[in-house]
C-alpha cells in the first residue's frame, strides 16, 4: 500500500493543552478518508497540524508527505507542495479582491512548478467554467475575499480555490456545516470532480450526511486525540445507530 501522507505518532498541543495524543494515520492516493468523532476529539486540530497552523505545536512524532517530513515547512510551502485545507470557518478579508487573491495564489503555485504565470484575462477564462459549475454568481470574484458571503458562499469559494489550485491532498474540515441541500450538492460535485485516482481526501465531519455525496473508502474514528478505529464505509451505519460510545479502541 503506497501512502501520500503519513501521520506518525503525532502529539500536538494548543497552548498548554495536549489535543493530539499519539495520532497515527496514513492517507492513500486516490482514496477518500473520512474522520469522524465527537466534539473535542481533536478533528480540527488534526487539520491545523497538517497545514502548519500557528496555534498548534507538535511536540512528538512526524508527518511525512510523499515520504518527506513537512513539520519544518512553512504553511505556504506545504500549500505549494500540494496540501490544501478547506477551512471550517473561512476568514473574511475586506479590501482583498477575491479574483486578485485567487490569481496570486494560482500564480504562486505555477511559479513553484516552473510554469508561466497567467495574466488576468487567461485567469478569468479559467475561472468562469468553475463558477458556473459551483453555481456561484460572477460578481463573487470581484468582491472582497469572503466579505459578506453567506455560509454557503464561503464554502463554495473554498471549493473554487481547490479547483483552481489542483492540490494532491485535500482536507475538508466540516465542509457540510451551514450548507443547504443545493449548496451541499454543488460543493460535493466540485469535490467529486477532483477525484482522479491519485488525489487523496481527508473529510472531517460530525455527520454522515456529506458521506452520501462523497463516498468514503475508509472511516476513521478519532477520539481523545487518537484514531481508535479504522474500517470501511459500513462503519457509518454503526455510528449512526449506536454513537461513538459504541466504538471500542482497536488494539
Amino acid at each position: 500500500m503506497s501512502k501520500i501522507l503519513e501521520i506518525k505518532d503525532v502529539h500536538a498541543k494548543i497552548g498548554e493543552k495536549e489535543i493530539l495524543k499519539g495520532l497515527n494515520l496514513d492517507l492513500e492516493p486516490g482514496k477518500v478518508h473520512a474522520i469522524m468523532g465527537p466534539n473535542g476529539a481533536g478533528k480540527s486540530t488534526l487539520s491545523k497540524t497538517i497545514v502548519g497552523h500557528y496555534d498548534v505545536e507538535v511536540t512528538e512524532g512526524d508527518i511525512l508527505y510523499k515520504g518527506k517530513s513537512i513539520l519544518e515547512m512553512e504553511p505556504e510551502e506545504r500549500a505549494l507542495e500540494g496540501i490544501f485545507l478547506s477551512f471550517q470557518h473561512p476568514v473574511e478579508i475586506p479590501g482583498v479582491n477575491n479574483a486578485y487573491f485567487l490569481r496570486t495564489a494560482l500564480n504562486a503555485k505555477r511559479k513553484h512548478e516552473g510554469k508561466e504565470e497567467l495574466n488576468a484575462a487567461e485567469f478569468l477564462r479559467e475561472m468562469k467554467k468553475h463558477l458556473e459549475m459551483l453555481g456561484m454568481k460572477a460578481d463573487m470574484i470581484s468582491r472582497s475575499l469572503n466579505e459578506g458571503f453567506s455560509g454557503g458562499e464561503k464554502k463554495r469559494n473554498e471549493i473554487l480555490q481547490m479547483l483552481i489550485l489542483q492540490p494532491e491532498v485535500i482536507i475538508l474540515d466540516e465542509i457540510d456545516s451551514g450548507l443547504d441541500i443545493d449548496a451541499l450538492r454543488a460543493v460535493s460535485e466540485g469535490i467529486n470532480m477532483m477525484k482522479d485516482g491519485k488525489r487523496s481526501f481527508l473529510v472531517i465531519t460530525h455527520y454522515s450526511r456529506i458521506l452520501d455525496y462523497i463516498k468514503p473508502d475508509y472511516i476513521h474514528v478519532l477520539k481523545e486525540g487518537r484514531i481508535i478505529k479504522t474500517a470501511g464505509p459500513e462503519l457509518v451505519a454503526q455510528l449512526e445507530e449506536h454513537g461513538y460510545e459504541s466504538i471500542v479502541e482497536e488494539a
Binding site: V51, H53, Y54, E74, P75, E76, R78, A79, L80, L85, F87, P90, V91, I93, P94, G95, V96, F101, T104, A105, A108, K109, H112, S144, Q161, L165
Partner: protein
C-alpha cells in the same frame, strides 16, 4: 538663519530678524502664539524644536519667467512651469486667517510676503510638482488657491527632491472654496533619506454649499507634519482622508482643526495609519461645532496597524461641541495585522511577505480607492509599493 532665535523676542526684535513690518498682523499673531516647542499642543508628538534649532541658508527669491508645461512645477518655492492659459502669478496674500492655531502658519506668511496665486478656472484638473534642490536651506513659500462657483476642480500634489540634506520646508496653501463648488486636493508625498523635513500649514475657507475633498497619502520615513485649519459655512462639506504608511524613524502625520460655523455643515475625517520600524504616526484632530452651526454632522475616525513593536501611534480625535442639535461621532483603534487572515493567505501558497503586503494594502485601499482618477490612483499605489519594498529590503538585510 536659526529660527530658534525668534524665541521670546520682542515685536521690534522679531520684526528686524524677519525683515517684517512691526505693524504686521501676522507678526503680532505669530508672537502671541509663540515659537512652537514640545510643550505646544499642536507639536506635542513632533520634534519641531530639533528642526527650528538648526542653522539654515535663506534663499533669495528671484521669480523666473514661467514656461509652458502640462503641470505646475515649483522649484525651491519658485514657479518655473505652468499649463498654457492657467493664471499662476505672484501677489500679496490679502486674506490671511487670523484664527489659525499654528504659529508656523504665520511664520510661513512672514517669510513669504509674495504668495503664488493659482486661479482654478472652470472645471479643471491640475497637477503640482514641488521640487527641492538645495541643501541646508530654509525653503518657505505659500500658495493661494481660488476656484469658481458651480465648478469642480482637482489638484494633485507630489513632492520630489534631489540628493539634498538638512533642508526645512515651510509651506502651505490658503484655499477659498467658492459657493456651490467642489475642490479636491490630493497629496502624494514619499519621503526617505532625511533629505528635507516639512511643516505644511494649510487653511481652507469653505463658503456656502462648498464641498472640499482633502486626501493625503504620506509614506516613507523622515519628518513631516501637515496642519490643517478648515472653516465651514452653511451647508458646506469637507471629506478629509489621511493615509500614513511609515517606517524607520519617521515622524509624520496630521494636526487639524475643522470648525463648523454654519448650519447644516458636514464633515467626515478618516485616518488610516500603518506604522513599521520605529516610526511615529500623528493624528491629532479636533472638530469644533460652534453655536451658530446647528444641524451639523461631524464624524471622525482613526485606525492604526502597528507592524513593529517599536512603532507608536499618537491618535487623538476630539470633538468640541457647543450645541445639542447635531449628529457627531469619533473613534480610534490601534492593532496588529490579523493573524488569521495572514495564515489564510499563506495556506493558499502565498509567501508571508506577499501576504503581509496584501493585508496592508487591503487596509489602505479603502482610502486609496476613494481616489477616483485612475492615473492618480496608480501613482499613489506605486508610491505605496516603493514604501513597502523599502521596508522589506531593510528587513531582508
Amino acid at each position: 538663519m536659526n529660527l530658534s532665535q525668534l524665541k521670546g523676542k520682542s515685536l521690534s526684535d522679531a520684526a528686524a530678524l524677519l525683515g517684517a513690518d512691526e505693524k504686521s498682523i501676522a507678526l503680532e499673531r505669530f508672537l502671541s502664539l509663540g515659537l512652537p516647542t514640545k510643550k505646544s499642543e499642536e507639536y506635542r508628538y513632533f520634534q519641531v524644536e530639533k528642526l527650528l534649532e538648526q542653522e539654515y541658508r535663506t534663499l533669495t527669491y528671484i521669480p523666473k519667467p514661467i514656461q509652458e508645461a502640462e503641470k505646475i512645477i515649483i522649484v525651491d518655492g519658485v514657479v518655473t512651469h505652468a499649463p498654457h492659459g492657467m493664471r499662476v502669478y505672484y501677489d500679496q496674500c490679502q486674506a490671511m486667517d487670523m484664527t489659525h492655531f499654528d504659529p508656523l502658519y504665520y511664520l510661513g506668511h512672514l517669510l513669504s510676503p509674495h504668495v503664488i496665486k493659482i486661479d482654478l478656472d472652470g472645471d479643471t484638473d491640475v497637477e503640482i510638482e514641488h521640487h527641492y534642490t538645495q541643501s541646508d536651506a530654509l525653503i518657505t513659500y505659500r500658495i493661494v488657491l481660488l476656484n469658481q462657483s458651480n465648478r469642480h476642480a482637482t489638484l494633485f500634489e507630489s513632492f520630489h527632491e534631489e540628493e539634498i540634506e538638512n533642508t526645512l520646508v515651510l509651506y502651505g496653501y490658503d484655499t477659498f472654496v467658492a459657493p456651490d463648488s467642489t475642490l479636491r486636493i490630493l497629496k502624494n508625498q514619499y519621503m526617505h533619506g532625511n533629505r528635507y523635513a516639512m511643516v505644511a500649514s494649510h487653511r481652507l475657507q469653505l463658503e456656502q454649499r462648498a464641498n472640499a475633498v482633502i486626501k493625503s497619502f504620506d509614506m516613507g520615513s523622515d519628518m513631516g507634519l501637515q496642519l490643517i485649519k478648515a472653516d465651514l459655512d452653511r451647508y458646506a462639506h469637507i471629506d478629509a482622508g489621511h493615509l500614513l504608511y511609515l517606517n524607520d524613524e519617521a515622524q509624520r502625520g496630521t494636526v487639524s482643526k475643522i470648525v463648523h460655523k454654519g448650519e447644516h455643515s458636514t464633515s467626515h475625517q478618516e485616518a488610516k495609519n500603518i506604522l513599521d520600524g520605529h516610526s511615529r504616526g500623528i493624528f491629532d484632530a479636533l472638530i469644533k461645532v460652534e453655536h451658530s452651526a446647528k444641524w451639523t454632522k461631524a464624524h471622525q475616525n482613526s485606525k492604526a496597524i502597528l507592524l513593529d513593536e517599536r512603532a507608536y501611534m499618537a491618535a487623538k480625535p476630539q470633538l468640541e461641541i457647543y450645541i445639542d442639535e447635531l449628529e457627531a461621532s469619533h473613534g480610534s483603534t490601534t492593532g496588529q495585522l490579523d493573524e488569521k487572515q495572514l495564515f489564510y493567505l499563506r495556506s493558499r501558497g502565498i509567501a508571508k511577505q506577499e501576504a503581509r503586503k496584501m493585508l496592508v494594502i487591503a487596509f489602505a485601499n479603502t482610502l486609496i480607492e476613494q481616489v477616483k482618477d485612475h492615473r492618480h490612483q496608480e501613482i499613489i499605489k506605486e508610491t505605496f509599493d516603493k514604501a513597502f519594498y523599502q521596508t522589506s529590503q531593510k528587513e531582508a538585510s
